[in-house]
Symmetry: C2
Subunit: 221 residues, 2 copies
Amino acid sequence: MTILPTDLSSVDIPDATVARLPVYLRTLAAFADRKISTCSSLELAEAAGVNPAKLRKDLSHLGSYGVRGVGYEVEYLRYQIAQAIGQTQNRNVLIAGVGHLGQALAGYRGFTTRGFTVAGLVDADSARIGTVVEGLTVHDIADINDVVDAQSISIAVITTPAEAAQRVVDGLVTAGVTSILNFAPTLLSVPEHVDVRKVDMSIELQILAYHQQRRTKVVDA
Amino acid sequence: MTILPTDLSSVDIPDATVARLPVYLRTLAAFADRKISTCSSLELAEAAGVNPAKLRKDLSHLGSYGVRGVGYEVEYLRYQIAQAIGQTQNRNVLIAGVGHLGQALAGYRGFTTRGFTVAGLVDADSARIGTVVEGLTVHDIADINDVVDAQSISIAVITTPAEAAQRVVDGLVTAGVTSILNFAPTLLSVPEHVDVRKVDMSIELQILAYHQQRRTKVVDA
DNA sequence: CCTTGTGAAGCTGTTCACAGCC
DNA sequence: GGCTGTGAACAGCTTCACAAGG
């Protein structure tokens, strides 16, 4: 397969843009629900909470899907963005750690509508292994390899305690998983080709606390 | 109160740095647990997963707390960072929405060690109101004003369904809350002086999916 | 001699402002 | 006329490389 210079699907979209495309997609879905068939960059940007120039520049990385003087066709743009971020195919997700957080994610409806299927649950606690959560049997984390294979897992979510996370990730990497979303508050070491993203609840609170402290300090001055 | 130009507590720390300071703090805590009393920028940076030059520049925004040729004293640096991000005082947190996610956060031990106390739980579901979760009684979301006042809430976490989020936030803003962590997948509109941070699980998965798709595309080429 | 602290360079992302086009 | 697409200016962050200093 040869990629032509004009093939936009091969150029890499800036990270900041990639992070916003799902927001636009969600906003467009809301427009479609409200039977809005066309919108301007201003309308879409306001509903998505971004600057209109930024929205247009973001979209320009995918191609030229608007009409000057008119705006964007909602369904068409929706399709193009979905295409660009690869939301056209379903992906099976494994959740490692079936505590409250794992269960919250297992039952989250928002995943399904974005092309993700929670297809595997594993845990280390023998009291949880074998139980059924959200229609799925919880498997032993020791069998992680089998679960990844059997369910063709492409993304894993770590919701184990921090101490267990690295061990679980090592198992996932061995099993061939290359995309990991980490909720455990610890640094994971993985090979070059594995992509890890981190969500850290306390850090978010700490950032809010810093800004709050700063606001009150400024008032003092 | 007058702030002198030399008072570093008044200069604003770059956002990117603020987001990493909690990571350094956590890394230093791990060092302290292992009885390490001194460390170089290289050691700390590696354990925290950042470039050493970035670490040093980050720390330089707080002041000059290292010793050339030697490194940093773990406990001293820990104290200085905690001071800078305002982790010296406790903050009471309210969780709005006591589903699985809300319960996961209510029971999360990591908050306590970082100076956050979950001091209030509210929900709209009458089946949940009055029940006790993690030692706290769940209150009616309609009484949010009273809960915020009685518990001196300074930060609120939204773990309600997306449809309810804006209504809840309006109530919180009226009650005087100025820092909000939003887990609901929706854009919140708040007055200027209110600080909102957003955590969106599906967007994280969508970003991972994009990179995964891209990796396989490149292999094709 | 060793490691910090920091100017300077380079890179990424944002915003402006307008040319291009329907 | 009006809105998109984009070069150019700008702002912020990262990294380098080295002077400063224990």
